[in-house]
């Protein structure tokens, strides 16, 4: 199914059918932006900017790769720059290779009814951790795709995810 979709993306790209491409991916791009930015208007701007940049940089897109992670990486980079300019970028994560072994809870600490608290706790995470969590849980990207989108190793994704979950549990416990 995935493969068919990607081929279809390629066909749309080749036929320059931007409207259908945007229609297919706008929701995902906007959803990512909405979780990384506080305002809806900023998220809309970021989504629009993503497509404008993607069209301007199409020459650098590797057509063998799926399109969505590439679009999401443009969104993520744009938002990171925006937050950095506004000096709103939360603390950078600690070194990715440094892991504390923290005991796992015997039962889930994050519960369905904690949805809003969870989103608030997510906002308090360092940007790079939050990004990995959103790409994994919301966008359902595989670790290898996240790694490629962010230009980091799969191991870095693994550790960011692990640390982010520990921080969320600690924040909500």
């Amino acid at each position: 199914m995935n493969r068919m979709l990607e081929e279809s993306d390629l066909e749309l790209l080749q036929s320059r059918n931007w409207g259908s491409l945007i229609g297919r991916h706008y929701g995902a791009v906007y959803a990512l932006a909405r979780k990384l930015l506080r305002s809806e208007a900023d998220a809309r701007d970021a989504a629009q900017e993503t497509f404008a940049r993607a069209l301007a940089k199409l020459h650098s897109y590797d057509a063998r790769r799926p399109l969505r992670p590439w679009l999401l990486s443009i969104t993520a980079h744009f938002i990171r720059d925006l937050l950095r300019k506004r000096r709103e970028l939360p603390l950078a994560p600690q070194a990715d290779l440094e892991i504390a072994d923290v005991a796992l809870p015997s039962e889930p600490l994050l519960r369905q009814e904690d949805g809003k608290l969870l989103v608030a706790a997510l906002d308090r995470l360092p940007f790079d951790w939050k990004l990995v969590v959103v790409l994994h849980f919301q966008q359902e990207l595989a670790p290898a795709d996240i790694a490629e989108a962010l230009g980091v190793t799969t191991n870095a994704v693994r550790i960011r995810l692990y640390r982010a979950l520990i921080a969320l549990r600690k924040d909500l416990s």
């Binding site: 979780k35 404008a52 809870p105 949805g115 997510l122 308090r124 360092p126």
Partner: protein, 616 residues
Amino acid sequence: MTHATPLEIHDHVYGFRPSDHVAGCAECQASADSLVAEASVIGAALRETPVSPPQELLRNPRARRSRITAGGLAAAGLLLIGLAWALSHDPRSIPPEPPDKTPGRSADPEMERLVRELRSPSPAHRQIAVLALKSYGEAALAAITQSGVGPELFGTYRLKPADDAVRRTLESKKTDLDMENVFLKDILSSLSQKTGLKFVMDPAFRQRLNPDQKITFKVKDLTVNNTLKLLFMQLNANFRCEDGAVVILDEKDGPSGIPVPARAPLRIGKRKAAAVGMLAEFRSDSIERREAARQGLMTMGFAAEEALWEALDSTDPETKGQALEVLRWLYTPDESARPLSHPRTRSIKKLLSEKRVTVDFKETPLLQALDSIRQLSGANLHVSGVQTPDSLRVTMAGTDLPVYSALVLLLEPLRVACAFREDIVLLSPEAASPEEAPRKLGNFWTSPEEARRLEGALIDLAEGPPAAQERASATLAGLGDRALPLLERAAEILDGVGRERCRTLRERLQTTIDPKGLDEPTAADLAVRTAHQEDLLHQTADLDIDGLSLDRILQRYGIPIDIRSKPDRTFRFHAKEIRLETALRALTMPFGLDFMFKGDQLIIDRADAVRARIRR
């Protein structure tokens, strides 16, 4: 039987490294199941309602924005609110301007202008005028009364004499408290005896407060205002002055606030032409240019005021919306005001830099270690926002270290940061540390008389003949500490010779007021680092240092470092997994040094030289 580690279970669940052990072990599988359940909760919480792309984007995918963005929408919203208000409001509450029978009856043309704006046909003008008049507080009272505009427009901003007495006590009285394991009511009772203040708990806060909760609270020689802020920070509470008492509120019920007497913004320069140029940028298709314009207007502050008011009549919704937003920011001192006082953290920083300690902590309870440092140094250390501090332990040894260095190295494994607040060192988790906030861009509000006097002095300094400049320099120098942020802000706003004169006078005053530059911004405040530079600073190393100098210590991190001024001493300490940034902070700040990047290379130099380099 050895079970899988938490990381191995995580790797198994998220597919990084599937583990046969986890799959086959009932206990590990139970942990794995709880992670799977969590994953589903997180997925559900992050789900967004599906949205369709805007038609404008589909029509022109290369366009870089929708025409009506945050500012435009805000403007539209405010216009609608204003319109609704204008339609629903009894027109008699804004009567026609009464004939002026007494020419020159009001001494303040700004108040007269704002009262005139209240009668503007434009809802946006009226909205901003109401906001501005409210912010002037008592200073606007006479003008509002004379205008005949309904007082209900202005809500409850009026300062009651009893609240003003509370304000004065909060700001002027200092207190000491040394209380261990006591109830909140005991602390409040002690404070009440010392200050004469009356404390009242809001019902929502009383209901939420655990009556059995015991508190340990120690402060020395702090204003009552700061004491209460620290105390209530621990309890997630705020306070307000109401009817002559201090009312304690749950933090969700509103921010802390003490009433403000008559005040006015200190207007520095006029840069209408430059502001008009920036407002034109809001028509740009580039989000970066629009963002830069917004920042530029905020940097100009009240120097852009006239152009911003005019932009409220713009036909471009984006320009109008952004002008409205910046004006709202200008006239909301809670958000935009900076204190017209130099940060008073010099004495605590001096103490922490100059006082030396020798410590040897091995798995020592954190609070015990901090007590020991508190006793050795006399510093006011306050732990805030650290979860279960009683259960944390620290290991660190050092000989003859500045207190600051010892503290920073000690707290590193816990990721707890030191922030300075007047005479307090606030120890909080890094993510919540107030020191991470950038220096606030903003404006000064002070008494109307002082605002006028200082505005005149700044004009004379920037534009006047030599004699006037000299008088202005003397007036500003007479402000002491308070001249420094004022001149810093003036140098940001003014251009040309005015900027240079402000800068020169500031440098001259700083060398006498704060010769070590302890309250000056650091490189971290002034420079924006790249992601790569941040990554470099987050490298860690174990530091077992026995008589090494700064350059030898930093060699362990393996990146090029150019040390242009190094402390004339060697260090002895043992600390594990210290990030480069932490090592740099611990080993530079107490010696008047700072650090900055030049590409991938770190430069360490005297703090004033680093500041000058970044500002250039």
